[in-house]
């Protein structure tokens, strides 16, 4: 018990550890909540209006009025587009052909060109999508006027789980996953290896404490800290953007504890396999952090990745956990929907625990190094 206390003191005395433990999640929440958006606002556009008629003018106004776009440049020639792109001044150029209104009235069909900056593929897609939506809206309005007697299909949409269409719904579960794995796996592995490397591990091993007690002692503070962190994140999310937990909080916490355990066992395994602190950090970083960030479905949807990645992500615990958290937090799903994923996590935890126990036995047999 005293051992655990010592470990706690260790952690709290060092402001840098505290940074990671508390400032980092807070910062991430802030950033993901406010700064990182998946949509586009005030994108700088240029317009090349070859028509100069009332329809094109009206459309230009409509585009400018939308929150997505900001029409900053009115070009007079096609050749101005390339330099504008090269300078990074615009995201896209919208070109209205001559006689635009005329064509629309006569043939009922007119085309608008969008030249988008493909170097920012994401934006280019969004620009096209939003423009299409706005123009569709306009033509639907026209249709209504002209064909009031004709049937016009009215599709209505209900946005489930996220009626206000906030960006951060997607991210907060991911942030939780990231932070948990950071604390539970990375920090544990690092502290244990440090102990090994700088010698006090041997002192501990010689003491009356059993090896498993030492491990548990080292690891217990991080367990609690991870839990505290989750609660802090949830509270932050609630207070800062009113993101509630739709489902059962108890279930959420339980799943978090499972995941923390999983992280801890991975951390222990790493620490048993590695001699130098910097190596432990490197492995944790490359092997845990980056995949979690990029391959778990946190930011980039897995279904968009090449098939091979889909298979690989199956063995990544974060992938499953993100799904579980999203289901519970955002969708309000109950256990019946996530039992499969939970089971997978349980199996993984047992697997890693088994492996690390074996590794440690071997290590100790070799003389405690």
């Amino acid at each position: 018990m005293a051992f655990v206390k010592k470990e706690f003191l260790h952690i709290f005395r060092d402001y840098r550890t505290l940074i990671i433990l508390f400032a980092l999640p807070a910062a991430q929440i802030l950033i993901f909540g406010y700064a990182v958006r998946t949509d586009l606002t005030n994108a700088s556009l240029a317009v090349l209006d070859n028509a100069h008629d009332e329809v094109s003018n009206e459309l230009i106004l409509k585009l400018d009025a939308s929150e997505f776009f900001d029409i900053r440049y009115h070009l007079t020639s096609y050749d101005e587009i390339d330099p504008a792109f090269k300078k990074g001044q615009i995201k896209a150029a919208i070109i209205f052909p001559e006689d635009f209104a005329g064509r629309l009235t006569r043939e009922g069909n007119a085309a608008v060109s969008i030249i988008a900056d493909g170097s920012e593929a994401n934006n280019a897609n969004l620009v096209t999508g939003y423009t299409t939506a706005i123009l569709n809206d306009y033509s639907a309005g026209l249709t209504k006027q002209l064909t009031s007697a004709m049937p016009v299909i009215v599709p209505e949409v209900k946005m489930y789980f996220n009626p206000n269409l906030e960006s951060h719904f997607m991210f907060v579960p991911g942030v939780i996953t990231l932070i948990l794995i950071l604390i539970s796996a990375l920090m544990t592995s690092v502290t244990i290896v440090r102990e090994k490397e700088f010698g006090s591990m041997e002192v501990l091993l010689v003491s009356p404490l059993k090896p498993w007690q030492i491990i548990v002692g080292k690891v217990a503070p991080y367990f609690f800290l991870s839990l505290v962190n989750v609660i802090v994140i949830l509270l932050l999310a609630w207070f800062v953007f009113g993101l509630p937990v739709k489902g059962s909080i108890a279930l959420l916490i339980a799943e978090c504890m499972l995941y923390i355990l999983l992280g801890l066992s991975i951390g222990i395994l790493i620490s048993a396999s590695v001699q130098k602190t910097e190596n432990a950090m490197f492995i944790s970083f490359l092997g845990l952090m980056l995949p979690t960030l990029l391959l778990s479905g946190f930011i980039f949807p897995i279904e968009n990745m090449p098939k091979a990645y889909d298979y690989v992500s199956l063995v990544l615990p974060p992938r499953w956990f993100v799904e579980i958290i999203r289901s519970i937090m955002i969708k309000g799903a109950g256990f019946s929907y996530i039992w499969k994923e939970t089971l997978i996590l349980v199996v993984m935890t047992l697997f890693f625990m088994f492996l690390s126990a074996k590794k440690f036995k071997v290590r100790l047999g070799e003389g405690g190094k």
């Binding site: 840098r16 299909i153 490197f282």
Partner: protein, 370 residues
């Protein structure tokens, strides 16, 4: 100067002997390029659409076949009722559900207003919105055809077509978009992390104390620790670029010289940060935490995944001092668009100012503490 050469020789020897580090120098660029680049895409592939057809009319079937025929949607299920549809969304088995009411074809014939109900999984708000807008497009096209076939003149139902063209990346290959970004992360990781860890290691083992007694000047010591990673950083950048070129065929429109010049300036800034952070840490673990914290913030805010212009004002202000943001922009512009010196002069200048500021500040801090 001569002393610096001796010190540099020592540093390089130590790096070579450090098997882990020397392997990492080759492995990290390769791994990042080969593994990360294919993964990081926002490209929207098929939207899993579930359809409940309560109408069972030729009209509804026609609409459904239009949807399944479009490249955006994939009809994945046909739930029988609202509850099943709900369950599909909850379980994540469908991205969107279309419910066609039983009076749909009557509405089309003019009796009532034909409605369609769509339920969308909006956890990812943007894909939900885009998916919705695609669906609306298909529906509108269908609507048009219905009206035309009932005899109205085409001109009575105006439709505006949008024909997009994507310059610099016609196939809208997301890899082209992300690869420059991954290269930036690469140099940041190597430059900042490895250099910083190395610096702190010296502190930990006390070898810097030993140097203090010798006539080696502080700046010589700093230079000897920083220059190797500058060189390694540029080397790794070249390696990553080569891999990107060979494996992914990324275009390189602009000037290589300009590209590397900017990268060099960036490296100076990053190494300055590494130096500064190393004064805040006495163990490698501490350094890792501090550095990781800042690097994460810099990278996330840099516009690597999401446009900086969409960020709130405070975020854009922050990015004024975020070297990663600058290099991200420069990289994409030079690599994909072939932007020239004039085009990026402002960004390059700002980056240079940052670099000088960081390094000067770092050296000052280092002298004070060590």
């Amino acid at each position: 100067m001569k002393k610096l050469m001796f010190l540099l020789r020592k540093e390089f020897r130590q790096i070579r002997r450090n098997t882990f580090l020397s392997r990492a120098i080759i492995a990290v660029p390769l791994l990042q390029m080969l593994l990360l680049v294919p993964a990081v895409t926002f490209e929207m592939k098929n939207i899993d659409l579930a359809v409940t057809d309560n109408d069972h009319s030729p009209a509804s079937r026609e609409l459904i076949s239009r949807l399944s025929g479009s490249s955006f949607f994939r009809i994945c299920a046909t739930p029988q009722n609202y509850m099943q549809a709900d369950a599909l969304l909850l379980a994540g088995d469908a991205d969107m559900v279309l419910i066609i009411p039983d009076d749909f074809s009557e509405g089309l014939a003019g009796a009532t207003t034909p409605r369609l109900q769509v339920l969308a999984d909006a956890v990812n708000a943007t894909t939900a919105q885009l998916g919705w807008s695609y669906l609306v497009s298909v529906v509108r096209d269908y609507n048009r055809d219905v009206i035309i076939s009932s005899g109205a003149a085409p001109s009575a139902i105006p439709g505006i077509n949008v024909s997009p063209r994507f310059w610099y990346n016609p196939s809208l290959n997301y890899k082209y978009y992300m690869l420059p970004g991954i290269l930036v992360i690469l140099i940041t990781a190597i430059g900042l992390m490895m250099c910083g860890l190395n610096l702190v290691r010296e502190k930990e083992t006390g070898t810097s104390e030993q140097m203090n007694v010798t006539p080696v000047k502080k700046w010589e010591l700093i230079a000897s620790k920083v220059i190797p990673f500058f060189i390694i950083g540029l080397f790794d950048l070249a390696l990553g670029l080569t891999v990107g070129w060979i494996v992914f065929n990324i275009p390189f429109e602009g000037s290589l010289l300009l590209f590397f010049a900017c990268a060099a300036i960036f490296l100076v800034a990053v190494l300055g940060l590494a130096l500064f952070f190393s004064t805040m840490a006495s163990t490698q673990q501490q350094f890792l935490f501090v550095a990781f914290f800042f690097v994460m913030i810099f990278v996330l805010m840099s516009g690597i995944f999401t446009p900086t212009e969409s960020m709130p004002r405070w975020a854009q202000q922050f990015n004024l001092v975020n070297p990663v943001a600058y290099l991200m922009r420069i990289n994409r512009m030079v690599m994909l668009k072939g932007s020239g010196f004039n085009d990026i002069a402002r960004d390059m200048g700002a980056l240079a100012i940052l670099a000088v500021t960081f390094i000067t500040f770092a050296i000052w801090a280092y002298r004070k503490r060590a």
